[in-house]
Symmetry: C2
Subunit: 406 residues, 2 copies
């Protein structure tokens, strides 16, 4: 009986694009920045849709928005599905919205069929995931998990001086519920990949096994400015050459850990910046990532060793470490089984980007599902997904929710 | 008799430092920028010193200044010794001034001893070698050789709108003589090395056999911006990594031609310049140098081949080629013999910097002699040389001039 439940692909696809009309941009994207009128309109629409299904609406003090579809066993903590309704200022139609709309579709399937699982099912939209107007990113989920103080979240200030709490009150989404007080049995976030891996491999469903650990470094290299013509190669202290070797070695360190290792040098500033003067100073960044903490530590040690071997030796300053996250085994298993039951060959994937699921994993069993997006493009009005992929992600989510909520 | 002639080391050293008082800076350097009042004062002092020796003074239309000590054979073209009296805005006491003062000392030795050689001996100060106020550098010698048009030289305009010809008239050094009309039998330019080679090797005298050829390139690399976390290494088109490989390969290309090869990347600009975004675009420069034209061509070809092998492939745009200069064999031989006669072990050296001798080599047999400067430092108020080296350079010049002028 319950195994016969299927999502309504047309309904899902239509609903996603109905939502996308709220804040729609001329270029086909969405501008539904957190706590703007467009964000309010999006929240209102979601609340209306959920209320039609008999859901209760719960809002906490940072504006996180929960629609609860009751289960039969009041002792069971709910299975929570969700993501975020806010977007980048020139965002796409699917980043965040997809996860909330999949949650809504799951509720619709349950409601339409008169199905109630033992566990309640909730759909959440976390406040201000993008952090585009009110930094930092993942603000609402970060306050929920206790990683960001409520006062810091409410006090977050936009470039124009606007304070988050004032906007929350203005749009009517400052709720009474203490943040983080809601029980979460499982948290499951469907999302577009925002990367090229699934599309490149021809995969429809990515089971996210965890989130990469990240190490950030600020690097300073001090050489000696000298004349490009009169200074022999063996008399130089060339900060540019040392920087270049660090770049190629960081690249190698990541490639030695294929396919999961990542290394990126995104910033490089040289001085004095004259074509016939040997570079005396370089400031650059390094970004190392890997889903395994020990491997990431080994990459870190190797980077330091490479730096120490260079002349002039780069000064490597580690400025941030975000440990890898390993997602909940029950959720991963439920997603994998759900995908196989629905006829897909799921592929394991690691998330390279931050999501609300990262913070929530600190306080509840958490998992994610990815579907492909065209060219890996996101945070862009041209963001695009296939209807079949969108429906497949919802089918798999539905099956996993049934497993987890039964 | 003539072989017994020796320079007066105290007189030379004192004269150099008397001259350095004109335009002296608080930090111990010199600000005697071309065609300023300080430049006029420096020229006036030189004219006064040369006139005391019975020299005739000759000034051409671009302000090149010649002091002529007559020889006995009117059919012989003169041996010309010199360099430039102008300095950088925060220049040193020896760059340029040394060569003119050595020429003056040679004239004093000849005058004091009543010696006249068959050839006349002239000491020249070329106008505006530094190009610091009126670009380009080596302006006076460039007009003399015909490489720069007289009109372009006279019309050179400073940042504040001042025109060179007006300043030349103002300081009284616009002469009547057509530029380039003077015969030059040999041109010999003593200079500080402005590099570290002689000091590092413990050498006193460098015989300059030629000037490096130079090839300049503007390089553009177009990759693809992508997310540092979600883009696997094998899916990247990273302009930063390609740039880094080009830097290390250019370095290798030069080191493979030790000790004369040079490669310098002095400018690198990356975009978008975000620490967690793979670099999509790089603009950089490459400067390749070698004293042998064929070797420099081989370096050029190798750089192009390296670029073609990279992905994304750098677009290499050659923007300038200055061919190598090989100095006159008679002058090199005379300097070498002079150095050995004076008890020094001269070392052959290639000039990596531009000098008036580069242009003059196009119209007359030309050579240069280098003495060490501390730490290779020049274009700097801290520029410093040893008294013994200064005197040695003058001794060698005196002997070479006697050889060439006899």
């Amino acid at each position: 009986m319950i195994d016969q439940l299927r999502v309504d692909g047309d309904r899902l696809w239509t609903t996603i694009h109905d939502l996308a009309e709220i804040g729609a941009t001329a270029a086909g994207g969405v501008a539904r920045v957190a706590l703007t009128d467009a964000d309010r309109a999006g929240r209102d629409r979601f609340v209306a849709w959920a209320t039609e299904l008999g859901c209760s609406i719960h809002i906490d003090r940072i504006g996180n928005l929960f629609a609860r579809y009751e289960g039969t066993d009041p002792d069971r903590a709910p299975v929570v599905i969700g993501s975020h309704l806010d977007s980048q200022p020139t965002g796409g139609r699917y980043d965040g919205a997809y996860g909330v709309m999949v949650g809504l579709e799951v509720l619709r399937v349950l409601h339409e069929s008169g199905t109630r699982l033992p566990a309640s099912i909730e759909v959440v939209s976390w406040t201000d995931e993008e952090g585009a107007r009110f930094p930092p990113a993942m603000l609402g989920s970060g306050v929920f998990s206790g990683d960001i103080a409520l006062e810091a979240g409410l006090g977050s200030t936009a470039m124009d001086g606007t304070v988050l709490m004032d906007e929350l009150l203005r749009i009517g989404y400052s709720g009474p519920e203490p943040v983080g007080s809601r029980a979460i049995g499982y948290y499951l976030e469907p999302h577009i990949e925002q990367g090229p891996i699934l599309e490149a491999g021809g995969h429809t469903i990515g089971i996210v096994t965890g989130v990469q650990g990240i190490r950030w470094y600020d690097v300073t290299i001090t050489g000696r400015e000298s004349h490009a013509g009169s200074t022999p190669m063996d008399r130089r202290s060339d900060a540019m050459v040392a920087a270049a070797r660090l770049v190629t070695e960081a690249d190698r360190i990541a490639r030695d850990r294929s396919p999961d290792g990542r290394a990126t040098v995104g910033v490089m500033e040289v001085s004095p910046g004259s074509r016939n003067t040997v570079v005396g100073g370089v400031r650059m960044t390094v970004d190392l990532r890997h889903p395994d903490a020990d491997t990431l530590s080994a990459m870190h040690e190797e980077l330091l060793a490479v730096a120490a071997s260079l002349d002039p030796a780069p000064d490597i300053n580690p400025i941030w470490y975000s440990p890898p996250i390993v997602f909940d085994a029950d959720i991963v298993a439920a997603l994998r089984a759900g995908a196989e039951a629905a006829g897909y060959e799921p592929v394991d994937i690691t998330s390279g980007a931050g999501h609300d699921a990262c913070y929530i994993s600190n306080v509840a069993p958490t998992g994610m599902l990815f579907i492909p997006c065209a060219d890996g493009l996101s945070h862009n009005e041209a963001e695009s997904i296939e209807r079949d992929h969108a429906v497949a992600g919802a089918e798999v989510t539905l099956r996993a929710v049934i497993t987890l909520g039964s």
